[in-house]
């Protein structure tokens, strides 16, 4: 791969820029993933340790059926919406930083 380096922006090709770039994006991704995994991996644990509570009826559904069969989808949409907004803002910042 050849590097198409314009002489003026050495910032972009510096080690600190790459490090901060990856760290900021990864920490955003990990924060979103952690929220998601907490809920996803927490569900079986709730089913395991609180079966009576999860079998509570909510309008005919059991609580665990309602959460898994319906409520989980909008929950994930919210996470992905937040992620995309923040990650686009992050990219704007990075572009401004590099061009300064």
């Amino acid at each position: 791969m050849s590097s198409p380096t314009p002489a003026h922006d050495n910032v972009v090709h510096s080690e600190p820029f790459l490090r901060s770039l990856m760290r900021r994006q990864l920490s955003l991704s990990i924060a979103c993933a952690a929220t998601f995994l907490l809920a996803l991996l927490g569900m079986p644990l709730l089913n395991y340790f609180a079966p009576a509570f999860m079998a509570t009826r909510v309008a005919g559904f059991t609580l665990s059926w309602l959460i898994l069969g319906i409520l989980f989808f909008p929950f994930v949409w919210i996470i992905s919406y937040v992620f995309i907004k923040r990650s686009l803002r992050l990219e704007e910042d990075e572009v401004n930083e590099a061009r300064r």
Binding site: L21, C32, A52, G60, G69, W77, Y81, I84, V95
Partner: protein, 600 residues
């Protein structure tokens, strides 16, 4: 012998008409777009000119396979709550793709995963290794699609043997792909999504309006700890002997996840059974559940036929937006199939005693006919609509898989390994030959899998992807210390372990079949005896992701550390291309020869 007339015996004209229309429209669109797609680049990634809305519909259309349309409903009916993990993780797996992989992969500017594998590690050898998994995962994924085809045709033509349906549908789609390529497929896939959405939602609403809503249908089932079900207004048919009991069906850790322990308990003397079940049943099914979740969530992020579509986004921003829309489109879809399973349990329990093509996998097709008694032809029309949706489901996924597998064979094996100097015209011919070859193998495999559940087989394809491509992509994108040897060792070991485990599980299940498959695979029957002694091994074999994914990632880290001198020299530049915003103008097309060849 008047075979054609005998076949039409007992065929409902409405059901036949709707299905025929779907197939005809699909073929017509394929042939029409074949005229407009001429260059090799058109065939491979549709010239990279697809808008977010079209692309999101097309990805969703390709993703919602026979497993989503027929399999999820069938499995919810047969196994209850535990089967809900499938639709949830199918949809939520996209989040992992969005968070960690979609943006960087698109920025890197490679066409396919093998392109990425070669570009990231500067290694043509690694490309060859990576290509194998496109085919491994692809074949595991096409088997359930073929079963969907066989089941649907056996439903429409009650006299037709299962394998005829498989051969017929396989042949039609193979020719469509060989003549249309991916440009055709993008348009076809997008339309197919909306056909499927219509075909699953409209019958659900009509059915619920007639027989009672989702919540009342669930409420008619007794939950653990209850003395009476909260809803008594639903007229349930008596459950057959093979059906799981209400309390096991509606609660977590039911028949799906406890199957191995139950089989082990049945092998014990009767007086030891209760103690054995009490000790092992719940912990083992928790393990099963976690392994399933890991397979589905990580597997979604490593499916080759889905990832190839991200290259049709103009840039990384569009790739992220597309993923968001895909999650919404498929999330809405996945609320519906379980409703069929729930209503089916209450009103059509005789399917529990059916096997193969006559079992619960056809609940989506058959359930709407229940309202025929009250509303006459409406039931047939609705059943025709769900059949049309089923056709859209297995046709779109099968053609998507065929395109990416054919792409791998024609673009990688032929165009880069066998004949690197081949002309574009020769490559086009290679694409067509490869399509017919792969279609033929997929049909042959599909003929054997009638006794296996559609949804379960798709889960296995995800488990293989989770242990091979997911670790490769995730680690290569975020860890600069990765070397080619580390990546190859991890991907091969994890992926092949998952592949072997999945194959063993299927052979064991096929040996249990009471039909012709049981005779063919009878040699594997002792496997089931072994598993009855060791239920834990059975679970680790049936759902291997819990050990294969960490194994793959662990090996990648260890081997890369050991060979750290071989990290590519320009790794910083590669990482910058993967992660820097495109506005900085670092984007470069990794594969340039094809673009030049395509006359960009």
């Amino acid at each position: 012998m008047n075979l054609p007339l005998a076949l039409l015996n007992g065929v409902d004209p409405w059901i036949f008409g709707c299905s025929f229309l779907t197939v005809a429209v699909t073929l017509w669109m394929g042939f029409r777009s074949a005229k407009t797609s001429k260059t090799a680049s058109d065939f491979f990634v549709a010239g990279r000119s697809v808008s977010v809305g079209w692309n999101a519909s097309a990805i969703s259309g390709e993703y919602l396979s026979a497993a989503s349309f027929m399999g999820v409903a069938g499995m919810v009916m047969s196994s209850g709550y535990d089967a809900l993990w499938y639709p949830v993780c199918y949809a939520c797996g996209y989040l992992f793709l969005l968070l960690f992989i979609a943006g960087p992969l698109r920025r890197f500017g490679a066409y396919t995963i093998p392109d990425f594998a070669e570009g990231r590690f500067d290694s043509p050898l690694f490309r060859k290794i990576a290509v194998c998994f496109v085919l491994f995962i692809g074949f595991f994924y096409t088997m359930p699609q073929m079963k969907g085809a066989g089941v649907t045709l056996a439903y429409i033509f009650p006299g037709l043997p299962y394998w005829v349906g498989v051969v017929l549908v396989g042949a039609v789609i193979t020719f469509n792909v060989a003549l249309g390529g991916m440009k055709g497929i993008t348009l076809v896939q997008a339309v197919q999504y909306w056909i499927k959405m219509f075909a699953i939602s409209v019958p659900v609403f009509v059915l619920m309006a007639v027989v009672g809503f989702y919540n009342t249908q669930i409420g008619a089932n007794l939950a653990p700890g209850e003395t009476a079900a909260p809803v008594s207004s639903v007229e349930r048919k008596p459950l057959v002997e093979k059906a799981p009991k209400d309390t096991a069906w509606i609660a977590p850790f039911g028949p799906l996840t406890t199957k191995a322990v139950t089989a082990a308990a049945n092998a014990l003397p009767a007086e030891q059974r209760p103690a054995f079940l009490a000790e092992h049943q719940k912990p083992y099914s928790l393990l099963y559940t976690y392994s399933l979740i890991i397979a589905l969530v990580c597997g979604t992020a490593g499916l080759p036929h889905i990832l190839v579509r991200f290259y049709t986004n103009p840039d990384g921003v569009a790739a992220k937006k597309t993923t968001m829309w895909v999650m919404i489109l498929i999330g809405v879809f996945y609320v519906f199939p379980p409703v069929f399973g729930v209503i089916g349990r209450n009103l059509l329990p005789e399917l529990y005693s059916g096997v193969g093509a006559k079992g619960t996998d056809k609940i989506v097709l058959e359930l709407p006919t229940l309202i025929s008694a009250k509303y006459g032809v409406v039931g047939s029309i609705l059943s025709g609509i769900t059949c049309a949706g089923a056709f859209a489901a297995f046709m779109s996924t099968f053609s998507g898989l065929l395109v990416s597998m054919t792409g791998a064979l024609a673009h990688d094996v032929y165009g880069r390994m066998l004949r690197p100097k081949s002309q574009p015209a020769e490559r086009m011919l290679a694409f067509k030959v490869a399509a017919v070859l792969i279609g033929g193998v997929a049909v042959a495999l599909g003929c054997f899998v009638e006794p296996l559940e559609i949804n379960f087989m798709v889960g296995q394809a995800f488990a293989i992807a989770a242990a091979s491509y997911f670790p490769l992509l995730f680690m290569s994108v975020w860890w600069r210390g990765m070397t080619m040897k580390g990546a190859a060792t991890g991907m091969l070991t994890g992926g092949l372990c998952a592949l072997g485990a999945a194959a063993l599980t299927n052979l064991g299940t096929l040996a249990l079949d009471k039909g012709p498959m049981g005779k063919i695979f009878a040699g594997f029957a002792p496997l089931n005896g072994f598993w009855a002694q060791h239920p834990l091994l059975r679970i680790l074999c049936e759902q291997p992701a819990i050990w294969t994914v960490p194994l793959a990632i662990g090996l990648m880290i260890v081997v890369s550390k050991a060979t750290s001198a071989q990290v590519p020299a320009d790794i910083r530049m590669k990482m910058l291309v993967l992660h820097a915003p495109e506005k900085l103008g670092l984007k470069q097309e990794y594969i340039q020869e094809h673009q030049a060849g395509a006359g960009h």
